[in-house]
């Protein structure tokens, strides 16, 4: 069966099957706002394929990572503070 990967989302521990993208892990954790736009509006994924940048989050301290293109990895720290 699928292995389980543990990561944290805004400090909360979350467990997902391996092969899950970070965007999906955020949705599983109940997050709908992935980032705030330049004018402060809430945003979430649009294109799913890495071109719109609406799903950008901070991963392991690096801002502006596209969560739809990134696979969850053990111990990963994800923040939706953009």
């Amino acid at each position: 069966m699928a292995e389980i990967v543990s990561l944290t989302i805004n400090g909360r521990p979350v467990r997902v099957p391996s092969g899950t993208v970070v965007a999906a892990a955020l949705a599983l954790a109940g997050e709908s706002r992935f980032r705030r736009s330049v004018a402060g509006h809430p945003r979430g994924p649009l294109c799913g394929m890495g071109v719109c940048f609406e799903c950008s989050v901070t991963i392991d301290g690096r801002p502006h990572c596209r969560s739809c293109q990134t696979l969850c990895a053990e111990g990963m720290e994800v923040r939706t503070d953009e």
Partner: protein, 376 residues
């Protein structure tokens, strides 16, 4: 047909400033550009408003213009993104520190604010600079802005019944009797014509010694607070001075929205308008020597532009040597954003026979460089 008092060719920041100042003084003005407002070199620039002291004349023009920018600051609309973040000149070694002190003294004597920073003060001012730099010089009154919006603001600031902008109008030639001949053959007459066509100015005024000096920039994603001032290496002077070879220098700018612009490069004889990787890499390499974390930040885009350069690094402002109906406002090289306001003001002063606040002679197109050939 009598079109207007003043025809301005070029809606870059320089042409826009000239047109605006003339219209504000009551003259009727038509501005022609083959593209949109601020779409030439003005669109490629960094937007650093900086006092430079290569020569007394350069200092006079840039410091006067910076004062005009500061006077205007409260009126500038938000989209101009004007921020008086100051310039931080960084000295890597003792030789550059000596230059910092010379500059400080030069400014102080002339009544401008300038402050020497030692190594610790430099680190406090810009914590992301690499350790071990010798110190720096802070010029707190320098600023940054977004040039295309500034050009647009200039045109909008003039009384609208006095100014008209014709986008998409290629000017084929300047009429020696005043006025312009458009690409489609239309002639529009004018009391006088201002050639403010930037790198295109020698095409309209034969023999004008304005050459293209290519520059590259990279813009990053948003990293608010990563840097706080426009930071420039003092070694920049060595690079800006070399007239022959290609050169790069560390020059980064914080934008109001948290993005950073990374420069700079200077090339002569490069005609290809696209980004050249070799020079881009050297430029980024240089920048990363000063900001070691740069490599991990995300670049969104790079581009290149051409600075309109003159042999003596001073612009041409005033009537052309051969023809009193054809005026020049061009050749601002890497300082056209800074000196646009002063250029517009000085040009209008001369047109209207008003006294100017600084001597105009150093920028006269009649200075010996013109090889005596410049006319319509």
């Amino acid at each position: 047909m009598y079109g207007c008092d003043v025809a301005v060719v070029g809606a870059g920041i320089v042409g826009a400033a000239c047109a605006s100042e003339c219209a504000r003084a009551g003259l009727s003005v038509i501005v022609f550009d083959r593209g949109p407002v601020g779409g030439g070199t003005t669109a490629a620039a960094m937007g650093h408003v900086v006092v430079m002291d290569d020569s007394e004349a350069q200092f006079a023009l840039t410091s006067y213009s910076r004062r005009l920018w500061r006077d205007l600051a409260a009126e500038l609309p938000a989209e101009v993104h004007y921020e008086a973040c100051g310039t931080l000149w960084v000295a890597a070694d003792e030789e550059e520190m000596a230059e910092a002190r010379r500059k400080e003294e030069f400014c102080r004597v002339r009544g401008l604010r300038a402050e020497i920073l030692d190594e610790a003060a430099l680190r406090e001012a810009e914590p992301n600079l690499r350790p071990g730099l010798r110190g720096g010089l802070l010029i707190p009154d320098d600023a940054v802005l977004y040039p295309p919006s500034a050009a647009m603001f200039f045109l909008g600031r003039a009384p609208q019944n006095k100014i008209e902008f014709r986008a998409g109008s290629e000017v084929r030639a300047l009429n020696p009797d005043g006025g312009v001949i458009l690409g489609d053959g239309t002639r529009i007459s004018a009391g006088l014509t201002v050639n403010a066509a930037g790198c295109g100015s020698p095409d309209l005024t034969a023999g004008l010694p304005v050459k293209k000096r290519k520059g590259h920039l990279v813009v990053t994603h948003r990293y608010p607070g990563h840097i706080r001032h426009q930071i420039v290496e003092l070694g920049y002077l060595k690079s800006a001075h070399s007239v022959s070879s290609d050169s790069v220098a560390f020059n980064v700018q914080p934008r109001a929205n948290g993005q950073m612009l990374i420069g700079s490069s200077r090339q002569y004889g490069a005609e290809h308008p696209g980004v050249e990787f070799g020079i881009l890499r050297r430029m980024l390499e240089r920048a990363a020597m000063y900001l070691p974390d740069l490599g991990r930040l995300v670049a969104i885009r790079s581009w290149a532009g051409f600075r309109p350069a003159t042999p003596d690094k001073l612009p041409f402002i005033g009537p052309s040597a051969g023809n009193q109906k054809i005026w020049l406002a061009t050749g601002h090289e890497g300082l056209g954003i800074t000196s646009s306001l002063a250029t517009g003001r000085l040009l209008a002063d001369m047109v209207l026979n008003r006294p100017s606040e600084i001597p105009v002679a150093p920028y006269s197109p009649a200075r010996s460089l013109l090889e005596g050939k410049a006319h319509g």
